[in-house]
Symmetry: D3
Subunit: 158 residues, 6 copies
Amino acid sequence: MSTPRIAIFPGSFDPFTVGHEQIVHQSLELFDKVIIAVGQSLSKTSLMSVEDRLQALRKTFASDSRVEAQSFRGLAINFARQNKARFLIRGLRSSSDFDYELPMAHTNRALAPELTTVFFPTAADRSFISSTLVREIVKNGGDFRAFVPAAFAALLRP
Amino acid sequence: MSTPRIAIFPGSFDPFTVGHEQIVHQSLELFDKVIIAVGQSLSKTSLMSVEDRLQALRKTFASDSRVEAQSFRGLAINFARQNKARFLIRGLRSSSDFDYELPMAHTNRALAPELTTVFFPTAADRSFISSTLVREIVKNGGDFRAFVPAAFAALLRP
Amino acid sequence: MSTPRIAIFPGSFDPFTVGHEQIVHQSLELFDKVIIAVGQSLSKTSLMSVEDRLQALRKTFASDSRVEAQSFRGLAINFARQNKARFLIRGLRSSSDFDYELPMAHTNRALAPELTTVFFPTAADRSFISSTLVREIVKNGGDFRAFVPAAFAALLRP
Amino acid sequence: MSTPRIAIFPGSFDPFTVGHEQIVHQSLELFDKVIIAVGQSLSKTSLMSVEDRLQALRKTFASDSRVEAQSFRGLAINFARQNKARFLIRGLRSSSDFDYELPMAHTNRALAPELTTVFFPTAADRSFISSTLVREIVKNGGDFRAFVPAAFAALLRP
Amino acid sequence: MSTPRIAIFPGSFDPFTVGHEQIVHQSLELFDKVIIAVGQSLSKTSLMSVEDRLQALRKTFASDSRVEAQSFRGLAINFARQNKARFLIRGLRSSSDFDYELPMAHTNRALAPELTTVFFPTAADRSFISSTLVREIVKNGGDFRAFVPAAFAALLRP
Amino acid sequence: MSTPRIAIFPGSFDPFTVGHEQIVHQSLELFDKVIIAVGQSLSKTSLMSVEDRLQALRKTFASDSRVEAQSFRGLAINFARQNKARFLIRGLRSSSDFDYELPMAHTNRALAPELTTVFFPTAADRSFISSTLVREIVKNGGDFRAFVPAAFAALLRP
């Protein structure tokens, strides 16, 4: 039990939602350190810059030193290794989430057998919130404030 | 970090499969103690007695003192509380598993908010193995030995 | 528009949950009369008698004369015809609900083309509540009160 | 019963299919007015112009004054409000449709609680027809005439 | 190519439906002989006797000598071996069918690697027809004739 | 038995994986000739050129004269007709694969009733391997060699 249990929580988080936030809180029950890893995707057109996402994440979890936010490029398994993380966290909202996540978890196990994928169920009342839908609401001027942490809402405000 | 991380892994385990075995091994990466909790269902007609299941489980994990096997009646959340377990483990083989598990996880969260459900993906090459199919094979005289730990195979042999 | 829009909401409702209750409220936005139709299944072992279910339903919707509760035997389409209902209501919590409901809707359309099946999505925060899980909680002495209307909780109390 | 029941049926409809057509016919059993709302997506490369879609829709439903076709920009909930529609119609062909629709329905409920999403099951023999597959057939010179209303087939003919 | 391609199509077929019938017709495009294998389940309460099912099957396919009907006990893989069949046919109506069939196919491959499972999609307009729903209709006096071959309808007539 | 049973196996195969390879081997149990048909998609940005894919496919199946590799444009049903193929092969890894494949199979049946779609289940231990994930690994410098046939690995090596 002497080595700390470090987990990464990789994603685009464009933006990070209150569903993601709940997954982080759940994983803190289990891990000594949780690194939120913001993927720098080249192809996707993003709503928020990676820098803005990192800044808002650090504000959101400012009171808990066990949570870090970093950006990464390339495969999540390499980022995990660089950070001595042996766990990879993913939230599951629905079976279509799971359909997407399972092959990824199996592929990661094939590439990095020492890394364990851990799934947490998103709370029912947040199970419909997705970054994709939030982006759609933001672009169309709708009220997105219930769906993201305050630090994100502040940056997304027009 | 001083309190030990105790998890229960509840199920019928009639019989326990090599898929379940892998979930236990994965969860030992994360928990200080894993209690395999064999539910005493009144209604189901079982292949193995609960006593046989417990005996075979203890043999299977004889070399690892962090694994315990116990039987329980009633709700899994009560068994967790009695054992000071704050985590409930479930394996996920497929999206139909998930469809069954998600409402259970949400219900358990509503009844016992202090208990966190943690899902692990079953390894791909064991993802098709179910207690139900093994029971069917056993009843029809098929060769089930690749699907269960040796201690179970020994008790199921005709 | 002169003929009233009558819908049946068939099910076992053993017990009726707050998820079902929300579906009734939603359907009242649309229909002039909603008949909750409690199926008298011969095979299933039930938690509540059909009489108790009807009584609790009538209490639950006592303030709204547009809601009726009746029992029925046989096919739901025949009960609909007897009550001049042209609509059949079903709630959808998840894709596994849908997998079960879709063939039923198609079969009903083949048998009774004049009857239209209408689906409503169950609210996210009630999407995990099922009669099956509530029965399990009741049988094991758990706290089920958040999951059923008060009139049902009163009858289920030990 | 004095206020008319107005529903919107939003979508891209590029092109509108005989599956969509059946959903409109089903919804006319229930609503006093159905507004087919053609979304003006900026990003998607379309097969038909929005104007062509509107023209073909108006021809398709020329004989029924309860059906309207309009284009809209932005969130469907705002379009609904502008048209005093309290219902939003969606067709369901399969569980993967449902997986996509459910979070949208929950999001719309969170943003506009007064708007009720109503799902209708697409008829079995039209359940495989999608705008995406029709576009693929059109682009590759295949025979698409069985899949779209005549007014659309006329405009899509090479 | 000198050895004939023999396939078994195992199931309960209580009753055999027009969906099953279409799967047999499709498989005759591919196989030299198709053996419809009626499982003699001990536990299930059946609508038709196994003898009646076999008799109606033989009548249904009387004009095609490539189709046989037999009953079997035990594992389908053993029945396949006894009949020198190297192929096992299953129809797929929906993803929930597939969720049930895939682990069975994988288990059969593990037990009998020489046996290949072949899936055919059920035609869309028969995709909702199941033996379970037909039994329900028969028991409740509904009109089931569109759902089963004539030889079955004759035996099911009250 | 006189006309040979010819099947096409259409796809992007960018790259072809060991999962695809197993589907080809399975289909050779059943067909006299299998044509791997590499679609020339205009829109997708590809990892490998169509020529490279064809070359690597021919190397992979060099020892079996029953396997051919060709490129095609347009609808797969037209390519099948040009090659006198009466069967179209698709592998199924998961229910989300099936959700995508079923409407395609129904559409193809509507367009070309003489063409039969045949599904084979991908082996469990290869069920998570997808061209999409392999492309991701290749782009990020990960080790993809376990996921593709040797002839593809040779061309993908940096």
